[in-house]
Amino acid sequence: MSDLLAALPARGKIALALVVAALVSAPLLVDRYVLSILLLALFGAYLGQAWNILMGFCGLLSLGHALYLGLGAYASAALYVKFGIGPWAGAFAAIALGVAAAAAIGWLGFRFRIEGVYFSLLTIAFAEFARIGFDNLPWLGGAAGFFLPVRAEEAGHWHNLRGGPIFFYYLALAMAAGALVLSTTLRASKLGHAFLAIREDAQAARALGVNVTRVRFVALFISAAMTALGGVFIAFWTNNLFPAQIFDMSRSIDIILAPIIGGVGTLFGPIVGAFLLVPLGEALTEALREFGLNAPGAKALVYGFLLMGIITATPSGLWPWLARKLGLMEKQP
């Protein structure tokens, strides 16, 4: 927490306080629809920060983060439905499974020279094959989906993550805020500096005594664990899981888009990116409906062109530019 405040100039502290106050009081101020959009943005900010620790800090490009999300979701949901084990205990299993998958990818990916591309392709391959695997796993519903029962008598059982929209909104807010504090603390720490050194030049980092392989594993584990925890959230929030959705490439793209648009490697970039992209997506859906463009593929077609346009136009992300304009620049510690 102190690291977070130390990283901001006075104006930034005030701005952060205002944003936090607005988000905390949002359930009183806005309707359900707007709240659901805010929830999506917060959750996107959380996942984006998890990915940003790996890519933005440590320079490892994962293009298959849906893997950890899906594994976390299925692990906690399976324990709950099949064995009656609640999500808090389930979260440990989710994290363990996510970290185990990360360990396998890391072991295969970190040993070779052109590790950059190899690692990225491996992450895609693992996510895709997990999708196919879960499609063919009848025990957990296969391609037809896996569902968490929603029972009236469990309403308000918050200890089992059985709450309403406002409950999940605050949960997402807490997770996004927690991720911000963790990212800031990490970045100011010795471990965080080892991440940065590896991102900048792995060979030089090694010569200065940084155990590059071990530190890369740590970054991957932190990121995978956070993302798997996000999977627990998504399982108990949506109550249904489909391999074709949760493990899909488009899910991985959604996760990494917010930090890329917001600014890779910055603390606030993933958050700014999520709060820009989620409403933009909603607006796009609305606008296409207005124009009567409901044909399957129309929205995705526009989305594809938007992706190409945005990435061509914003090389280093919006946040560094925005922060300079508003005088909210993160101080380089």
């Binding site: 490009l61 293009l63 190899y118 491996l122 391959a125 895709e128 063919n136 890779v264 990435i311």
Partner: protein, 290 residues
């Protein structure tokens, strides 16, 4: 199961694998020279399949024959694409290249979906159900023709890199970019040609595949994944590795669909991928680290 059936599956696997290999070769050429991973590779294969389907519908042109004009057209598309859209991204970080090409893949899939609908398409060729028999072993004619066409295109490609000045220049640029620029090679043009050659490979392969399988717009991602798997198994940037990896994956998948079930065949290529990376991280034909 009889011995002859195994031989049959093995041959079918090798023949299909040659077509896969040609597709993966395109990915390998683009990465090897431009250092950009074409994340829209499978979608380009599907685009080629539609092109072959249309040519078949209009002129009754055999998809295997159509692979040549389609490869030529895809060369032009690739050349232009590199010049206009991709070139600015050559020096940008990999994750930005990824978003660009994924955006492109989304555009291709959904443009096809809007134009042709989600139904699966196939071509009825006179020889679709014919086969050659070697004793008890039966081999589909379509696969034989397809593999032959793939071999022709691949041989032409090897000859291009081996015997033409432009091919030699591209190899030089792939080896040592600064050196190539210093001796006055127009690197941007070489990049555009390489991207064109890469798309010509995938164009030819996609067209040939139209003679072998049914096709839907949604086939793209699985073909992209297939190409990734092949190049990682074969060794990124190695042309021979792409071909051999294609045949290996072709055989493995063919065997898996006979022994187990067709739905499990991707899992088999995945296991193969993990196995190769565990035992020989640089891929079967990849260069060991210097």
């Amino acid at each position: 199961m009889s011995f002859s059936l195994y031989v049959e599956v093995l041959i079918q696997g090798v023949l299909t694998g040659l077509v896969y290999g040609l597709m993966a070769l395109g990915l390998s050429v683009i990465f090897g020279v431009v250092r950009v991973v074409n994340f829209a590779h499978g979608e380009f294969a599907v685009l080629a399949m539609y092109a072959a389907f249309i040519l078949f519908g209009l002129f009754h042109l055999d998809p295997i024959v159509a692979s040549l004009p389609i490869a030529a057209a895809f060369f032009v598309v690739g050349y232009m694409l590199q010049r206009t859209v991709v070139q600015p991204f050559v020096t940008r970080p990999q994750h930005e290249q990824f978003i660009l090409l994924v955006g492109l893949s989304i555009v291709i899939v959904n443009a096809l979906l809007l134009t042709f609908g989600p139904e699966s398409k196939h071509t009825d060729l006179s020889y679709s159900f014919d086969s050659y028999s070697l004793g008890a072993v039966l081999v589909d004619k379509a696969r034989v023709y397809g593999a032959a066409a793939a071999l022709v295109v691949t041989t032409a490609l090897f000859a291009f890199f081996r015997y033409t000045l432009t091919g030699a220049a591209i190899r030089a640029a792939a080896d040592n970019l600064t050196g190539a620029a210093v001796v006055g090679l127009d690197v941007k043009r070489l990049y555009a040609i390489s991207f064109g050659v890469g798309l010509a490979c995938v164009g030819a392969a996609g067209s040939i595949m139209m003679a072998l399988t049914d096709m839907t717009p949604m086939l793209g991602p699985s073909l992209t994944l297939l190409a990734f798997t092949i190049v990682i198994v074969g060794g990124l940037g190695s042309m021979a590795g792409a071909l051999f990896g294609g045949m290996l994956i072709g055989v493995a998948e063919a065997l898996a669909s006979v022994i187990a079930s067709p739905s499990i065949k991707s899992m088999v290529s995945f296991s193969l991928l993990v196995l190769v990376l565990a035992l020989r991280p640089q891929g079967l034909f990849g260069k060991a680290e210097a």
